[in-house]
């Protein structure tokens, strides 16, 4: 008796599974986007009389999820605020969220889906350089519009992408100048994770140190992503005694790197260190006590004392909880929807080409990190700041540069 019931159950499960697979197949074929045309939309984007659809494409799962969550939250917050203030050209923004799953081909697939199937007017997303490289051909082919939030290596400029984070020279040169002047640094030790962003950054740093600052690079080391054994590195540092360590170590390696530095006695008092890869988000993982006294070079710190930032931090915490911290990239992600909204309204159209044109020289006087301007090379003019980390995971801003012009293809640094 029991056996028969079980068998029937098994058969039922199989039947329902078959039915399920079948439904998926049919559903997949039926899903198509509804087109809508009007004056503001001549290129068949997903714009109706009262709504406009945009995409958010970040890793919600996989190793990058922890880093990209902040960006998703910031983008959603910005879009919610825009909707509350009346939307874009009188239209409420609808969001389609897709998961890039920390996997570059998936990013490409989903980017294509957002542009071809969903006809999104703009996409906010991609985080790592690899994911941006994967989606770039898709955006160029389908003439989409991407707002990319992460500080990155430069050497790129696309009609279809706006880079709301800093490119390498903005972040690095001001930081090194400061280290040379304030810390009187002459000997630099360069350390990075082994991929395109640290490599390019260090290339620029080395040129600047040797040619402009007339200092020396005592060593340059790269470690695979996820590397956690920095013992031999620490011995080398102790041997070479650099004035400043210049670091671009990312992800999980960061935690091991700073903990081991600390354990080896290389604290901020003995060994100054300037990094371009640690934001408030990373500090959460590394622990403020391991970073105390070290410096980061960024355009944004949560502790910035600006009216635009106070408002932003308050609203971010109201929406996502009091414990949430805001790092540089999260703030960059917040800029995207706003810059898009203003460009659309300036252009009076959702058409990508018109929005791109209208974006040129767009200014935002009281953004969370202060004044910014969109350059015609699709990067932003902005200030660079040096923050010194405190035990509580927040930074004390010790230096602020002038507004720096973005220069993704720096002459003399390639």
């Amino acid at each position: 008796m029991k056996l028969r019931v079980r068998n029937q159950l098994r058969i039922a499960v199989r039947h329902s599974l078959l039915a399920l697979t079948f439904t998926f197949c049919t559903l997949g074929t039926l899903a198509t986007a509804a087109p809508a045309t009007s004056k503001v939309n001549t290129t068949d984007l997903a714009v109706t009389d009262d709504s406009v659809t945009v995409g958010i494409l970040h890793s919600l799962t996989g190793t990058m999820a922890i880093s990209e969550t902040g960006s998703v939250e910031a983008e959603k917050l910005a879009i919610e605020q825009i909707n509350k203030s009346g939307g874009v050209l009188g239209r409420q923004i609808k969001i389609i969220v897709e998961d890039g799953a920390s996997d570059w081909p998936t990013f490409a697939e989903k980017a294509k889906k957002l542009l071809v199937k969903d006809k999104t007017a703009a996409v906010f997303g991609a985080w790592t350089s690899a994911s941006r490289k994967a989606v770039l051909p898709v955006f160029e082919k389908e003439n989409g519009l991407l707002y990319y939030p992460t500080f990155y290596e430069g050497l790129e400029q696309s009609h279809n992408v706006f880079y709301t984070g800093q490119e390498a020279t903005q972040q690095i040169l001001a930081g090194l100048d400061w280290a040379s002047k304030t810390l009187k640094a002459k000997k630099f030790y360069l350390i990075g994770s082994d991929y395109i962003w640290p490599r390019t950054s260090m290339k620029i740093a080395r040129k600047h140190i040797e040619k402009v600052l007339k200092g020396t690079v005592v060593d340059e080391q790269y470690y695979p992503l996820g590397h956690t054994q920095f013992g031999s590195l620490i011995n080398k540092i102790k041997l070479k005694k650099p004035d400043v360590i210049f670091a671009a170590v990312v992800g999980g390696s960061n935690v091991a790197f700073f903990k081991q530095l600390n354990a080896a006695g290389l604290t901020a008092k003995r060994q100054p260190l300037l990094t371009i890869s640690v934001t408030e988000d990373e500090v959460l993982g590394i622990g403020g006590e391991n970073l105390e006294g070290f410096y980061s070079s960024m355009k944004y710190f949560q502790a910035l004392d600006l009216p635009g930032n106070k408002k932003f931090v308050q609203e971010f915490k109201n929406k996502w909880g009091n414990d949430s911290v805001i790092g540089d990239v999260t703030e960059s992600a917040y800029l995207g929807p706003w810059l898009w909204k203003w460009a659309v309204e300036k252009a009076g159209s959702f058409d990508v080409d018109k929005v791109v044109k209208a974006s040129e020289n767009l200014e935002w006087k009281d953004s969370p990190h202060g004044y910014l301007k969109v350059d015609k090379n699709h990067h932003l003019w902005m200030k660079t700041r040096i923050g010194q980390w405190k035990r509580d995971g927040q930074a004390k801003i010790v230096f602020e540069s002038d507004v720096i012009k973005p220069d993704p293809f720096p002459k003399g640094y390639q």
Binding site: E98, W104, E109, A130, A134, P137, L155, Y195, I196
Partner: protein
């Protein structure tokens, strides 16, 4: 004609299966799916090449390779190298410090094209390399492992390790390989824009025809004596060896064949998706590919295609409709499949068919589902009696071939 029917199509039942698949892929999908979805199906089908290879080498040969991504990647990278060189002509790369070399080399301070990239300027060489390079690689691994009689779990672990080594190598040598970004932004094949919709249609059909070809090669192998030997090897390797067959050579052959098939899939992947990255070479994608074969049924060449299609379709569908929960849904799908039908979809199909046969024609009906069983009956007929009378058997065997196992 008889050869085509019996060997390439695998008899009446096999021909029906291939026909249904061909109609589905060549007529139904192109008619009912728009180009975006069809391109996705094309991408899924490139994994089917690997799954078909796995049916041969794992299902029939009993060699579980957890490193098929290695060969998929080698094939894909070979194709990508050719396309990248074509995309990096001096005109479109004039912004670089060294125009005319791929962009990632320029970012990594390379000033000349590395020697091993040079031959990939030639399409003919590339097409050969797509098959030959992974085959040589598989041959070396195969000879090194099978001659030493490494098998089972140990072999699986070693293939995994090799896949990992290659990933680390690709990521580490980014000046030569594109690193973790992979080789991106591929545009044309001999001046033909592979990103256009018409190109996507053509590539899809080329892909399907190649896949059907690969399935027929698979059928040819398993319907012949080689297929029977493979099964025998899988079930009792020592007996086949003592019968005088060179077991290692057969294993090497089937492993190389599976590798070559995976490589074709990799090359087609690069063409249809437009880039190649180390995320297809490592352990995770390799295991995923084994899952495609397992879901489809590891004894069924055609089932493997359906397995690759359904798992990937589920992946796309779940991740589009539930971006936060989709990994859990995929996990649930795998667990259900393994619990509910351990022999995969093909096993389920065979069972239904058996039941149908039992109900309608009580006896005298020979079907594909039973072919394997007839096999089981044939084999013991020769060996089982001998096996039971072990002492007499040993006495009967001439001492020079008895060996120390007897």
């Amino acid at each position: 004609m008889e050869f085509v029917k019996e060997r390439l199509l695998g008899g009446k039942e096999g021909a029906r299966g291939i026909l249904i698949l061909a109609v589905l892929l060549l007529i139904v999908f192109p008619l009912f799916l728009d180009i975006f979805r069809l391109n996705l199906v094309g991408k899924y089908l490139t994994y089917a090449f690997v799954a078909v290879g796995l049916v041969l080498c794992w299902g029939y040969g009993g060699i579980l390779s957890l490193g098929q991504g290695l060969f998929f990647g080698l094939g894909g990278y070979a194709m990508a190298m050719f396309l990248k060189l074509e995309a990096s002509d001096p005109e479109s790369t004039k912004i670089q410090s060294t125009p005319g070399i791929p962009d990632f080399m320029d970012w990594n301070q390379l000033t000349a094209l590395p020697w091993f990239w040079e031959p990939f300027n030639n399409l003919f060489f590339t097409l050969i390399a797509i098959i030959v390079v992974p085959s040589i690689f598989a041959f070396i691994i195969g000879v090194a492992m099978f001659r030493r009689r490494v098998s089972g779990v140990y072999f699986a672990i070693i293939t995994q390790a090799i896949a990992l080594i290659l990933t680390v190598l690709i990521v580490g040598q980014q000046g030569y390989t594109g690193g973790i970004n992979g080789i991106t932004d591929l545009r044309t094949l001999l001046g033909w824009d592979i990103r256009s919709d018409s190109a996507k249609y053509i590539l899809y059909f080329v892909n399907v025809v190649l896949l059907l070809g690969v399935i027929m090669i698979g059928k040819f192998v398993i319907t012949g004596k080689l297929g029977r030997l493979l099964l025998a090897m899988r079930d009792k390797e020592d007996r086949v060896r003592f019968s005088g067959y060179d077991v290692a050579s057969f294993k090497v052959f089937i492993f190389v064949l599976a590798a070559a098939m995976s490589a074709i899939g990799g090359a087609m992947f690069t063409l249809q998706v437009g880039f190649m990255s180390p995320s297809f070479v490592g352990i995770v994608p390799s295991i995923e590919m084994v899952i495609f074969a397992a879901v489809g049924g590891r004894m069924s060449l055609i089932g493997a295609v359906y397995g690759a299609l359904i798992v990937n379709f589920g992946k796309t569908y779940f991740s589009e409709s539930a971006p936060v929960l989709w990994l859990l849904l995929m996990g649930a799908l795998f667990i259900t499949v393994v619990m509910a039908f351990p022999n995969g979809l093909a096993g389920l199909w065979d069972k239904y068919k058996d039941k149908l046969n039992r109900d309608s024609l009580k006896n005298g009906f020979r079907s594909l589902g039973k072919r394997e069983k007839t096999f089981d009956i044939k084999w013991p007929k020769i060996t089982l009696p001998k096996f039971r009378k072990k002492e007499t058997e040993v006495k009967g065997v001439p001492s020079n071939i008895r060996g120390d196992h007897a």
